[in-house]
């Protein structure tokens, strides 16, 4: 019975010109978005790989110079673009993709395409994630709003119910038929995505579990819209009312909630402007964290302590290079300042993120956004993780160079020079993204809100079919 109803529903809908038109458009958009996303992923990855290798080459080819000068020369690092970013580029355009490492300074991750783009781009970017999060639900609403209400108005519901069909079987059959029709839209893009992951080689092998989790998340999300549409269609006074209610639900989720969440988060947990932030760090380093320990005083104290430690009277008598010690001490003081300020900043950001996650219980679209970006590896948490990992590498690199100056440059002061062997012996940066387990763990709230929405909406469907009105 269920299959028979599903088959008729699928057959009926697939002969509808409006469905064919809109399905073709959405399927085309989805395929285009996937193809474009994939192409740009490949391009960007190739560029990053080349730029990263070049930056390292330049670093290695510096020739003879003081190690501290080499630390100033610096190195560019690039945030590896995860394979699934072709589905969802996430916040990458806003948080940046590359960072310049150098002595004394912790630079922001930069190179943010969104900074150069007009506000129009916010709406205009075609991504598979946007199609799945915004357009597919709209299509579901348009397909499903007349499912019960429309049949009620046409009078076919009376006849179907006069045959002794169980209302729950009717609605379940419709849900299945609609699901089939919708799956048909997703099939071309899905096949393309799978093909792309297969072709991408070993790097993508690691992302299969992520892709599976991502697919599950989107299936649940779209299931919520389908169930809500069927329930509203069964409960509404007329199909017009059903359409208005469902469009309202869609607008609130797809249009209002994301902006609302961003503004609310910004108000609830304010973050300093980039200028204020940099200024606070600069003054803390110059005047000391408590404001009463200026740089010169710290240097003087370090000198006294170092001389006392080695039991000598002057810097020249030291068995080590004092410049190396002083530079590293300055570095470490700076690092403590960075930790303080960045710690507070990240805390604010994660406060904003968790506020948004809680709002996901009110708006499922927020939950899927979080889930999608996190599994694609393009969310705020990943940007944070990369920034921290790059900073840790910067500290190791600068420390190793200062150490060389301290140990080997004993009597030469700033005249000491090291060569390419030293540059080449510096560690190579490899970013290790967090494991799937850790990512899923951080998405607990998003999963729960999607699951609760699914349970609530399917529960509403059951409730609405218990006493289905025929007219």
């Amino acid at each position: 019975m269920l299959l028979r109803i599903a088959r008729k529903e699928f057959c009926d809908i697939s002969r509808d010109g409006r469905f064919r038109g809109s399905a073709a458009i959405v399927a085309l958009l989805l395929v285009t978005a996937t193809a474009l996303g994939w192409q740009s992923w490949q391009e960007i990855r190739r560029e990053h790989d080349r730029a990263q290798a070049e930056a390292r080459e330049h670093f290695d080819d510096q020739g003879e110079k003081n190690p501290h000068a080499a630390a100033h020369y610096g190195l560019y690092l690039f945030k590896p673009k995860p394979p699934l970013s072709f589905v969802d580029p996430g916040v990458d355009p806003y948080t940046g993709v590359s960072v310049y490492l150098e002595a004394h300074r912790r630079n922001e991750v930069g190179n943010r395409p969104a900074r150069d783009a007009t506000a129009l781009q916010r709406f205009g970017e075609l991504t598979a994630a946007a199609v799945l999060q915004v357009l597919m639900p709209l299509l579901i609403v348009f397909l499903a709003f007349p499912a019960v209400a429309g049949e009620r108005e046409q009078g076919t519901l009376r006849q179907v119910m006069s045959l002794g069909v169980r209302p729950s079987a009717l609605v379940a059959g419709k849900a299945l038929g609609l699901t089939l029709a919708l799956a048909l839209i997703a099939v071309p893009a899905l096949a393309m995505g799978v093909g792309v992951l297969i072709m991408a080689g070993p790097e993508s092998a690691r992302t299969w579990p992520h892709a599976l989790a991502l697919g599950t998340g989107y299936a649940v999300y779209l299931g919520i819209f389908l169930a809500a549409s069927l329930a509203v269609s069964a409960l509404a006074r007329s199909s017009r009312v059903a359409l208005i209610v469902l469009l309202g639900f869609w607008i609130v989720n797809a249009m209002v909630a994301p902006r609302l969440a961003t503004d609310l988060a910004r108000r609830a947990v304010p973050t300093p402007s980039a200028f204020q932030f940099a200024e606070a760090i600069r003054s803390d380093i110059k005047a000391g964290i408590d404001g009463h320990d200026p740089e010169d005083a710290r240097l003087e104290r370090l000198k006294r302590e170092t001389l006392a430690k080695h039991n000598v009277e002057t810097v020249e008598e030291l068995p080590i290079n004092f410049q190396g010690v002083a530079l590293q001490a300055g570095e470490e003081y700076g690092n403590a300042v960075f930790d303080r300020h960045y710690g507070a900043l990240w805390k604010a950001f994660s406060g904003q993120d968790s506020l948004r996650q809680w709002l996901g219980f009110a708006f499922p679209t927020l939950a899927i956004r979080d889930l999608s970006m996190a599994l694609a590896g393009t969310d705020n948490a990943r940007a944070h993780d990369f920034a921290e990992s790059a900073e840790a590498y910067r500290r190791d690199l600068v420390k190793a160079l200062n150490r060389d100056l301290e140990v080997n440059g004993a009597d030469l002061g700033f005249m000491y020079q090291a060569g390419p062997e030293l540059w080449k012996s510096m560690p190579v940066f490899r970013y290790r993204p967090p494991s799937l387990g850790a990512t899923l763990e951080s998405l607990r709230l998003a999963w729960w809100s999607l699951l609760l929405w699914l349970i609530a909406t399917t529960g509403l469907v059951r409730l609405s079919t218990r006493a289905l009105r025929v007219d």
Binding site: K8, D12, I13, S162, L163, G164, V165
Partner: protein, 234 residues
């Protein structure tokens, strides 16, 4: 087969049906006559359990329809004033779907065509989408559904209103054939002439009450019309 006992339905104080007693046995065609709002459609809706009775009982084959909403529907077929079909499907597909929902999923295409033929639907129309059908053709698909269901009783709600005389006549002939097979028919209608011609009994309804019930054999056309009008004028 079809039985109503002191059946009453009120909506917010308005009495749509007032203690109706009615029995339609095998091979009987009971015609409910009356103006709009007399309670004819309410009676049929109660038999289909689309609405719940305020008091009294409705049974089909001795089974209470409120207690057995799914089972009692297996024995009846319902044809409304305009049979509504899925316009994107052909007549044949519509019939196959409705028959399957009624529990008859195993008909071959030839058998389904046979039902449409018996109902008088032109052969070429069976493969056309229903969107192009006239009202008469839809009614014929409705009859084919009833035939395919092998229903023991029919609930008809003004099935011939708006049909041309020829189609109306064909419909009456089909009803007679079904009656002869022992089907019990309850039909709401405005058509005194056909009620007299095809019905075995007629009940005249007014403001929710059945004010008269007669055997059609015992009255002539003119008598029936006179009695009907008399009741309407009171």
């Amino acid at each position: 087969m079809l039985e109503a006992r002191s059946l009453t339905k009120t909506y917010n104080g308005f009495t749509a049906l007032d203690s109706l007693d009615l029995t339609v046995g095998e091979g009987e065609i009971f015609c409910l006559l009356g103006a709009n709002g007399a309670g004819k459609t309410t009676t049929i809706n109660l038999f289909l359990n689309f609405i719940a009775p305020t008091s009294g009982s409705v049974t089909i084959r001795g089974l209470d329809v409120v207690a057995n909403p799914l089972e009692t529907k297996r024995y009846v077929a319902y044809i409304p004033e305009t049979v509504m079909l899925y316009k994107n499907l052909t007549g044949l597909e519509n019939l196959a779907y409705f028959a399957a929902l009624a529990g008859h999923d195993s008909y071959s295409t030839a058998e389904l065509r046979g039902f449409l033929e018996q109902s008088g639907l032109p052969n070429e129309a069976a493969e056309r989408r229903v969107g192009t059908y006239s009202k008469g053709m839809r009614q014929k698909v409705g009859i084919a559904i009833a035939l395919a269901k092998h229903a023991e009783s029919l609930l008809l709600d003004e099935p011939t209103s708006g049909l041309d005389p020829k189609a109306s006549n064909e419909f009456a002939n089909l009803l007679r054939t079904l009656r002869d097979r022992g089907v019990a028919v309850l039909m709401a209608t405005h058509d005194l002439f056909h009620a007299k011609e095809t019905g075995t009994r007629v009940g005249i309804m007014k403001r929710g009450r059945m004010v008269a019930s007669l055997e059609t054999d015992e009255v002539g056309h003119a008598d029936l019309e006179r009695i009907y009008l008399q009741h309407m004028h009171d």
